[in-house]
């Protein structure tokens, strides 16, 4: 059964078809949510919210080929909502990746990863989402613009500002390497 048929059946209330769609997409969405929120529990809440919204609104999805982009968008929106609702909750940071670093240059060092972690967490959720969608999910700038419903130039500048913000945070951390920054 191809994706179009799965989407059609799930949109007509087929639980099994929806379960298959979830199975095919949840790994990617969960990773996106974890990267944006930097918290496994918050990411789980966001993913659940995204799929609940997806199930509810699947009958309105006219183009099954857009399912992936649509789910990404629902997940990003859910991340923003979860972050807003639980802003005061202490963030749990997982510093021990399950898989070893795949690149052996200086960025794979603990120190560099820690700097990136702290700098990234100083960005707002919108900026994190743009960076994750572009550099992790592989979305092009036009795809970002379409998904976020913003003009192409706005998407480009938002991505540029997010990168510049991260660069500024890293520079600030270079000047003051102690983790005194305010977590997100």
């Amino acid at each position: 059964m191809d994706q179009r048929e799965l989407v059609d059946r799930a949109g007509r209330g087929d639980h099994d078809a929806f379960a298959l769609l979830v199975d095919q997409s949840i790994t990617q969405l969960e990773a996106v949510a974890r990267l944006i929120l930097r918290d496994p529990e918050l990411a789980r809440d966001a993913v659940q919210d995204a799929y609940i919204r997806a199930w509810r609104d699947l009958p309105g999805l006219r183009d099954p080929d857009r399912l992936g982009a649509w789910l990404n968008r629902l997940t990003v929106n859910a991340c923003l909502d979860v972050h807003r609702k639980r802003r005061r909750r202490p963030i749990e940071v997982d510093l021990s990746p399950a898989s070893p670093p795949t690149v052996g240059d200086h960025t794979s060092s603990i120190a560099d990863r820690d700097q990136l972690e702290r700098g990234f967490r100083r960005l707002n959720t919108d900026q994190r989402a743009v960076l994750v969608l572009h550099y992790f999910a592989g979305m092009s700038v036009p795809e970002l613009a379409a998904m976020l419903e913003i003009p192409l130039g706005t998407a480009q500048s938002r991505l540029g500002r997010a990168l510049a913000g991260l660069r500024a945070e890293l520079a600030a951390l270079d000047r003051d390497p102690l983790p005194g920054g305010q977590p997100a």
């Binding site: 979830v22 949840i26 183009d63 991260l166």
Partner: protein, 231 residues
């Protein structure tokens, strides 16, 4: 490699390292939680939901206008449907009521009662004989005709079907009648008429089935038609 390129590359690598993509163990729970909710009916979505969000550069103002138009159309449609439903839900009127089709004319000629079909031009004598019959009046259901019959004792009333059958003539007679006052009851079982009996003018009700004449206990001043009779 400049500083910017390096940051972008480092970021991509770091994302890949820390994402740890793997199928979470709560997948089934998410499916259960989601599917116990009710899906939105398909008709509640605007046309081309995804197309509109992903492909069409619609400005917010235009979107609002489009939504307003959709809402207006839906409201108009709902009002029209409600009107049709209300009209259709009305009970169907019994035979004496409702729109009547063209039918036969009736008239008196030479003391006899005739019907005439305007469509075919066919004339039919339905009450004939030596009696002087006059002033035929169709019942409201178009099936019976009442007419007045002059006699030496006064005016009797006759009832006959449209085809001439079922003739009933009253035994009693009124001394005279106001022929313009003859009015059928809505149920076609009687007629009311103003006339004189025993020297006094009054309103009488004549039974179309058995021919009995009954004096109505109302003071006659001026008879007005049509009249509704609850016999």
């Amino acid at each position: 490699m400049n500083h910017a390129d390096r940051l972008e590359r480092d970021l991509a690598v770091w994302f890949t390292e820390t994402a740890m993509p793997s199928k979470p163990d709560y997948t089934d729970e998410i499916v259960r939680e989601a599917t116990r909710r009710r899906q939105r009916p398909r008709w509640t979505f605007a046309p081309a939901w995804v197309h509109g969000r992903f492909a069409l550069p619609v400005t917010p103002g235009r979107t609002r206008i489009a939504w307003a138009a959709v809402v207006l159309v839906l409201v108009a449609l709902a009002v029209a449907l409600a009107a049709v439903a209300i009209v259709a839900s009305q009970p169907k009127l019994p035979p004496p009521f409702g729109l009547a089709g063209n039918g036969l004319l009736s008239y008196a000629q030479g003391g006899d009662i005739y019907t005439f079909d305007p469509e075919t031009g066919k004339e039919t004598a339905i009450v004939t004989g030596p009696d002087e019959d006059h002033d035929p009046r169709w019942s409201l259901d178009g099936r019976r005709i009442v007419f007045a019959r002059a006699s030496v004792v006064g005016t009797r009333f006759g009832f006959v079907n449209a085809d001439g059958g079922g003739l009933v003539v009253t035994t009693d007679a009124l001394q005279d009648i106001d022929s313009d006052s003859i009015a059928w009851a809505p149920d076609s079982r009687a007629v009311a008429v103003a006339g004189t009996m025993n020297g006094g003018r009054a309103i009488f009700m004549v039974n179309a089935t058995n021919g009995q004449i009954r004096l109505l206990p109302v003071e006659y001043t001026e008879f007005a038609v049509p009249i509704v009779i609850n016999d």
